[in-house]
Symmetry: C2
Subunit: 431 residues, 2 copies
């Protein structure tokens, strides 16, 4: 093995495996979000993950999986099996694989006792098990539960096991606060990424335009990712410092901005369409109100997902029934009769109505046929109109989102609506 050595004598970690433990995962009762979270974090640290595994709370199978993983990788991160019950075996099996005994960890014992005291719940004797630790291990405190985490290395530090609790709300802060700083001291270089967010272009079209860049770029690398109706291009640089990495990334971001896909970029490292929109509205001191029919509150829900939306989002009218379109938004019954609820005319009147009645700078409306029922040859499932109204102008976008399921059509329609307003705000900025 040609392991590199760090200054402090600890071995550099280059490869890792993730081993999640839990019968509920094997029964398919929960989705393994921990594996995805840990993999992404390790990739960000420049550590290669070649395998993820899931096993149940079975001593023989857990020990076998741990041994195999340790043979292949420098680091094994486990999640789950640290609880107080007899089913929770991770520490016992990991200690066995590393040839260590379990001893009482006084600080953990006190911490668990006080956790129960704060909640005014009596502590069961079985919780003492959670304070038993492999000798020589580093204990990671758990601020959101009773099971501490554990870092355990073999004698020459060529193999490391990091044990984390199963619930994501305990695992994620423990990783971010304690494991990530530890691992960054045990990796050879820094990796940093910029995420370029695009909307309105498909992944295959993106690959056609960026093919050469993706093939030829080594540092930084350029890779596209499809993400629920949008596309993300991740630019990742390796270097000796964060600053060096970001400088390399930002040069590449500029190259991509000037490419044919540049016009589809709605932001860099902005998180989501809704977050980018809230930021853009705050910058321009503008407010918005929504009139939603087929999306039924999804668009509003998405903007309220963003903490701080209250300064720009006034409210919405969810006009699922036509009576609400008439009485709350002022769409004349004659328009609904002549053009239908799913039409450009109705969409524009909905947008203007919600803007005026709720007193916002912008009104955005969505009306469409999300299916599975309700489609006709002239107005098939997937037909959606998005209206935009401001004091200066009104516009309507007609979309055909058919061939997909109801949830997709609604999500996609809400994304187009967010993007339509975001584009409008950028345009106003330029003029």
């Amino acid at each position: 093995m040609d392991h590199l050595r760090e200054n402090n004598g600890q071995n550099i970690i280059q490869t890792a495996e993730i081993l999640c433990i839990g019968t509920e995962l094997l029964l398919g009762d929960i989705v393994n979000t921990n594996a995805a979270f840990l993999s992404k974090e390790l990739a960000g640290l420049g550590i290669n993950v070649y395998r993820q595994s899931v096993v149940g709370d079975n001593p023989a199978r857990l020990t076998a999986a741990l041994k195999e993983a340790l043979e292949r990788a420098d680091l094994v991160i486990t999640s789950g099996g640290l609880g107080p019950t007899g089913d929770d075996l991770t520490k016992e099996m990991a200690a066995g694989v590393m040839g260590k005994k379990l001893v009482l960890h006084a600080e953990s014992y006190e911490r668990i006792k006080s956790y129960f005291a704060r909640r005014q719940v009596p502590m069961a004797e079985s919780n003492i098990k959670q304070a038993m630790m492999p000798e020589g291990a580093t204990v990671l405190k758990n601020d959101f539960g009773t099971a501490p985490g554990v870092i355990l290395c073999n004698e020459d530090r060529t193999k490391t096991i990091i044990m984390l609790p199963g619930p994501p709300r305990e695992l994620i802060p423990m990783f971010e606060n304690e494991v990530a700083p530890y691992l960054s001291r045990r990796t050879a270089s820094v990796l940093r990424s910029r995420n370029i967010h695009l909307f309105g272009i498909g992944e295959s079209m993106l690959e056609i335009h960026l093919h050469d860049l993706m093939e030829k770029s080594i540092n930084p690398t350029v890779a596209p990712y499809a993400k629920e109706g949008e596309v993300l291009v991740r630019v990742t640089a390796k270097g000796s410092s964060e600053r060096e990495c970001f400088a390399l990334c930002d040069q590449m971001v500029e190259v991509i901005r000037r490419s044919p896909v540049g016009e589809y970029i709605y932001g860099v490292d902005v998180g989501s369409l809704e977050a980018a929109l809230v930021t853009s509205l705050i910058e321009r001191n503008k407010t918005v109100a929504f009139a939603e029919s087929c999306t039924g509150g999804l668009l509003s829900k998405r903007i309220v997902d963003v903490s701080g939306a209250s300064s720009v989002f006034v409210g919405s009218i969810i006009c699922y029934a036509n009576s609400v379109k008439v009485n709350q938004l002022g769409v004349p019954p004659s328009v609904l009769e002549q053009y239908g609820a799913v039409s450009e005319e109705t969409a524009l009147l909905m947008a203007a109505g919600v803007r005026q009645r709720l007193g916002a700078d912008f009104g955005i409306s969505i009306t469409g046929i999300a299916g599975p029922a309700g489609g006709t040859p002239e107005k098939p499932v997937g037909l959606v109109y998005i209206g935009l109204s401001s004091e200066e102008e009104e516009r309507c976008l007609r979309l055909m989102l058919g061939g997909r399921e109801r949830a997709y059509i609604r999500l996609s329609a809400s994304s187009y609506a967010l993007n339509m307003l975001l584009s409008e705000l950028k345009k106003q900025n330029r003029t």
Copy 2:
């Protein structure tokens, strides 16, 4: 090996492993929902899954993972790596492990050609690769993409590999339409479940009440599952027919209904709170309208998630700004001033206002502090009021959902609102 033999001479499948293939899984860019889906389906067929694994598109690592899995289990189901590019290796490696050659499958070739013709897109030469199949394999047609699935057995049928495409929208229908019927012919008995949905009781309290039942019941088994703010009790029976299984399940469901947790049951096999509410409203021919503040459209979005909601859901007013509470719902400014937007008084007026103005039988309102900002000592983050208004009565529920993140508080508040109306409807039925 003491494999049982079925009438048709095919070996019975008792154990399985799931092997998902894809670099995007190892990078954490997507969450492995396929593993959860397949595990749940296999559990439903009575096939034990002892391990799930993920590897990348690497010939040596993929072959090693396939071999190991086949040594431990009767069946290995793979997802991913069936596409047209050079990176897609699953069929090649599986054929190698089983000692088979790849040959052109004429029907698949025609199907892929016509798939491109329908979309008026030229077919790349590389797509021919997708029509190459291991000799002797059973080919599973793909109605939602170009990559067919494959069932491949060894000579004495003690080992089976089933290869499925990676995208869930291709994998799920292929499993349901072709793999599940195939596997049910290769399993020894039938397994069927009833899901009892409860709301308003925690998992730990549920375990206290059902502990004896859970410990002692062998057929059917009784197991609790936490599920985003609700609890599910799954009753699973094994038998020789579906009818026998459901008879066993239904007896146990009755026992649980008569236990102390019975009052928290809102339905059996109803899918979700929102689906149960839509059904209940349809049965009683009643309509509902919502007034949402802190949940910002989430409650409305959830009811519209249910196909068929249009017959009972009129619409909503999302009154994020106080001006909307005043102008669209008729909450007097003096009430907002005296009691605040987050108060029983405001909640009741919001519920009555939306019911009257939108013309529904029931009005439900939510106003609260979802955080992270906006809390005070008297009105902390997590304080939520839910109002209910009908022609006959009005009621208000006060909740303290603090100590959790914004998304959880909003989700939980919307669940309480759905449950409040569902309980009201049941109560009316009894009187």
